[in-house]
């Protein structure tokens, strides 16, 4: 008897109550919404991939062009444009920014978290306010400042200025993030180390830095990604195509009619996006935690 019944209608095993008809419709509707948003995201990206590999596309990407697989746009990108140079520039700027930020911020984060020195609270407030001043507030001055410094020190390039600007723009918020993180580390560790004869610097180097490494990685990562994403400052400061970053360089492929080549842009965009997307998907949890703790936690 029982056997027969289970054959007829499947035994309901879930611990959730069975769905009613409106519930089923709702679920179906949910799937519909979710899948349509998947299409909304994937379709443009798919278009980009297709245009990058479509040998039939010329200069301007046209929608009604037949597909023919070819890597000629990539070849164009590598031979006719300064793409590799842009990649190098961006990695240089991003790397230097990340390292400089790490050095500066790891010290300030530690100092603000662990020491009660005169002027601490006032400077913390100042940092808070400085954090809100957008970096572009100084665009007019940056250019002239660079020309003053480079007249004295010719080795000081625009890219270095850019590195300093990116670093300066990130100090305030990153100090806050790191301070919050180190605050959560028990000070008993410091005390124990000090009893064992560690100096302040030893405590920083041997105790705090290893513990704060996850947060430092996130800070370094964000500082590294920043220059990849930024267009405005690169556009303002860098004037020579051979010193462009990726964002500034790729834009010339779609904005300037002399260098216009939209499929090559798609190819370059694809190449740039793949490593970053991989990074984001692998590290999404950590990256988000860095962002959320950036808000004022106190």
């Amino acid at each position: 008897m029982i056997k027969k019944k289970s054959k007829k209608e499947k035994l309901y095993l879930s611990d959730r109550p069975p769905l009613s008809l409106p519930g089923k419709i709702g679920l179906g509707f949910s799937y519909l919404v979710l899948f349509s948003w998947v299409v909304a995201i994937v379709w443009p990206l798919y278009q980009m991939v297709v245009s990058a590999f479509n040998g039939r596309q010329e200069q301007r990407i046209m929608a009604n062009t037949n597909f023919e697989f070819s890597t000629k746009h990539f070849e164009y990108l590598f031979t006719e444009t300064l793409y590799l140079q842009w990649v190098k520039n961006t990695i240089f700027i991003a790397g230097a920014t990340a390292i400089l930020t790490l050095i500066v911020v790891s010290f300030t984060g530690y100092a603000y978290s662990r020491y009660r020195f005169a002027g601490r609270k006032a400077s913390l407030m100042a940092i808070m306010l400085i954090q809100t001043i957008p970096t572009f507030a100084g665009i007019t001055a940056y250019f002239t400042m660079h020309s003053i410094v480079s007249a004295v020190i010719p080795e000081f390039t625009r890219q270095m200025m850019l590195i300093l600007i990116y670093t300066g723009g990130g100090i305030a918020s990153n100090t806050f993030i790191l301070k919050g993180y180190i605050d959560s580390v028990s000070t008993e560790l410091d005390d124990a180390a000090k009893i064992d004869g560690c100096s302040n610097f030893d405590v920083y180097r041997l105790i705090i830095m290893p513990i704060a490494r996850p947060m430092l990685t996130i800070i370094a990562l964000w500082s590294f990604i920043g220059p990849f994403m930024d267009y405005l400052m690169a556009r303002v400061l860098l004037t020579n195509p051979s010193s462009y970053t990726l964002a500034a360089g790729l834009f010339t492929l779609i904005s300037d009619f002399r260098t216009l080549n939209q499929p090559a842009f798609a190819a370059g965009g694809l190449l740039t996006a793949i490593p970053i997307v991989a990074l984001f998907i692998v590290l999404q949890r950590q990256l988000v935690s860095g962002l959320t703790s950036g808000s004022v936690k106190g």
Binding site: L27, V33, P44, F107, I148, T167, N200, Q284
Partner: protein, 698 residues
């Protein structure tokens, strides 16, 4: 003339009797003046006090103190000679460090003997006595330690040279064979571990760890075996002994210095001075006051500050050593009337830098003054000034946060503050295409132009401002709405393929925005995919980039597409952290799933991510990339927007076009200041409401 206290005190408040009887007498008179009520008596006492001071040179105590001073002088002179004699009697082959310490020991023994007789007369003598005593007590031990260790090292070295002549062939062979044996063992162990992993007994990670452990063990065993060869062992002994000696000397001297510092804290100092005059007299030149306080190490540090003030800050502020400008004066004249290559902007920036130099200089002056003043004040109270050892220790402790924040401070001053202040000053000038290289102050005219919407650049300000606000509200709200709804839907426990959806949904965030924006811009251009599809749907041509309304709508949709991923991520994170028992409790109470969403999920999530959503609004307010890269602010409508801006320009892209393309830097600066102040105000509001600030816990 100031008053004298009856007692001296140290920095923890212990009281000490005065030893200087002359000063003690004065202190007693002062005490009586304080108590005395009738003015007649007071004037009498005051007269006697003056009389007493006049007779200082005849005071008995002062006579004996002066005698001590004379004797001391003579003694020290003699000691110098004696020291030289003593050093010649020492063994010539003595190691220099030992020699130095031995001479020091001799010197301190002599001092101990000399000062012993005067410890009741004067605190300085007592201090010198105790210091010399401490040194003559500890130095022999240190010297002995050094000599012993050096002898041990010497012996070991001798042994080494002896051993080197011998050949330990058999031992070496033994070690080699041992090494081979161990190596075989290691290889076997590794194959065994690998086999176990293949069998599935241990995990891949355990395999890696066990192999590493086995290799480490092998290395240790071999190293240990090697020490069975006497030369190797002996070499190691020499090495470790040398290190030990180096560290030992350092440690012992540290202990000695620490003990002396303790003595300094215990023995007060007695001076006739009652007013901290050095600090006022040497105020302009940091370093001298410290030297007068006999803190020479500190004086050297502050001398560097003096050098900065007098060789860098002041000359720069006066216009010397500038690149073009005239220091602070350049701020006022802005290169007016100067040669053609002189640029007002350079004068302005150098003026701002000069101001910062002056501020830094002034702060150094204040710090130095405070330092000298407090040391003098405490000396008068009876606290002995700290010596270099103590200063160094304090610097390492309290100075640490300042020293490590210095690079950050410099970067913030020169990369953030100087440009921002320059921008503010620029907004008070008339820098425009006609006045590029030379411009002058015009006060708040730019702000007036903006506020009243007049002039070439100001006329469209309010139009752009309204669109910017509209854009911020619509684009951000759309992104939040999309991200929020998607996160809620995906989080439904009946939805399958959560991982798939979540991975896809963060793509707009992960792909660098400038790439997607530029590609969307291509797609909505004539002939682009979106244009073509719309054409098929509607049946007529849609020129998205040439119609203000369409461009704006497209921009808002695009930002909704871009921004939703971030909101989705944030919301998902919070959703997953909501404890399940809340929902169970709601189930028991008979809540429908709609109720649960409205009453539990949405309030909890919104409460947590609200501050982050506020930053999304400010981000979009300044979202230059999406506007500029999509359509360069167009479409352009000169009748309505003039030649400077397009109809989808935000304030920030308008600023960019004014300052960088059309060279209306002054008015651009005014707009920048306007929005920066606005943003700061909103940030401050948010900050003030934050938990950390309210609880005063920063």
């Amino acid at each position: 003339m100031g008053k004298y206290g009856l007692f001296l005190e140290d920095n923890i408040g212990n009281k000490y009797e005065r030893k200087n009887l002359y000063l003690r007498e004065l202190a007693l008179i002062d005490e009586r003046i304080k108590i005395e009520k009738s003015s007649k008596e007071i004037s009498k006492l005051k007269a006697s006090r003056t009389e007493f001071i006049k007779n200082k040179s005849k005071n008995e105590y002062m006579l004996s103190l002066n005698e001590l001073k004379d004797k001391e002088k003579k003694f020290l002179n003699e000691l110098k000679k004696k020291k030289q004699e003593f050093s010649t009697t020492l063994d010539k082959e003595m190691e220099s460090k030992v020699k130095r310490l031995t001479i020091q020991l001799y010197e301190n023994r002599q001092k101990e003997d000399f000062y012993k007789g005067y410890i009741n007369l004067d605190y300085r003598a007592e201090y010198n006595y105790l210091k010399a005593k401490e040194k003559s007590y500890q130095l022999p031990k240190i010297i002995e330690y050094i000599v012993n260790s050096q002898n041990e090292i010497k012996e070991a070295l001798e042994l080494q040279s002896k051993l080197e002549k011998e050949d330990f062939a058999s031992k070496k062979a033994e070690v080699e064979s041992f090494k081979k044996e161990q190596k075989d063992k290691l290889d076997k162990e590794i194959t065994r571990i690998k086999a176990r992993q293949k069998e599935g007994v241990i995990s891949k990670k355990a395999e890696i760890n066990s192999i590493a452990a086995a290799k480490r063990g092998y290395k240790n065993d071999v190293a240990l075996k090697k020490y069975e060869i006497p030369t190797n062992a002996n070499k190691e002994i020499v090495k470790s002994k040398k290190h030990e000696l180096r560290m030992g000397i350092k440690r012992n001297l540290k202990i000695l210095n620490g003990d002396i510092a303790d003595i300094r804290r215990r023995i007060p100092v007695e001076v006739e001075k009652t007013k901290p005059i050095f600090s006022f007299l040497t105020f302009p030149i940091p370093g001298i006051g410290q030297a007068l306080n006999k803190q020479y190490g500190k004086a050297l540090i502050f001398l560097v500050a003096s050098l900065f003030i007098y060789l860098v800050a002041i000359p720069y502020a006066l216009g010397y050593g500038n690149y073009q400008g005239e220091g602070i004066a350049g701020l006022i004249n802005l290169a007016e009337g100067g040669p053609r290559i002189y640029k007002s902007l350079i004068f302005m920036i150098e003026g701002v830098v000069a101001i910062f130099f002056v501020i830094i200089g002034a702060m150094l002056l204040i710090v130095s003054f405070k330092d000298v003043y407090s040391v003098e004040r405490s000396t008068i109270r009876g606290i002995r000034h700290s010596n270099w050892f103590e200063t160094k220790r304090a610097l390492k402790q309290e100075g640490f946060p300042y020293m490590v924040s210095l690079p950050a401070l410099l970067i913030i001053i020169f990369i953030v503050l100087v440009p921002v202040i320059t921008t503010f000053l620029l907004s008070l000038t008339n820098m425009n295409p006609q006045n590029q290289s030379k411009f002058s102050w015009i006060g708040i005219q730019n702000y007036q132009l903006i506020a009243t919407g007049q002039g070439l650049a100001g006329s469209v300000f309010w139009l752009i401002f309204i669109w910017t606000v509209l854009w911020t509200l619509l684009a951000t709200s759309l992104a939040i709405l999309i991200g929020f709804i998607l996160a809620l839907l995906v989080n439904n426990e009946r939805i399958k393929g959560k991982k798939f959806f979540r991975t896809i949904y963060i793509l707009p965030w992960a792909v660098p925005a400038f790439i997607t924006i530029m590609f969307f811009s291509i797609m909505v251009a004539p002939g682009g995919s979106i244009t073509v599809i719309l054409e098929k749907l509607i049946g007529s041509r849609v020129e998205i980039k040439n119609t203000t309304l369409y461009t704006r709508s497209a921009l808002i949709l695009l930002q909704g597409w871009l921004g939703s991923a971030y909101v989705f991520l944030l919301t998902t994170g919070v959703l997953q952290a909501i404890p399940g028992d809340l929902y169970e409790a709601a189930d028991i109470d008979g809540a429908s799933s709609f109720d649960k969403t409205m009453k539990i999920t949405i309030p909890l999530v919104l409460f947590q991510i609200a501050p982050l959503l506020v930053t999304q609004y400010t981000f979009n307010f300044n979202n230059f990339s999406v506007i500029f890269l999509f359509n360069q602010g167009g479409p352009f409508n000169p009748q309505r927007y003039g030649n400077l801006a397009g109809s989808s320009d935000l304030l920030i892209s308008y600023i960019y076009k004014l300052a960088m393309v059309n060279q209306y830097q002054a008015i651009a600066a005014a707009i920048t200041i306007f929005i920066s102040l606005g943003l700061m105000f909103f940030a401050f509001l948010g900050f003030r409401n934050s938990k950390g600030f309210k609880e005063g816990r920063l």
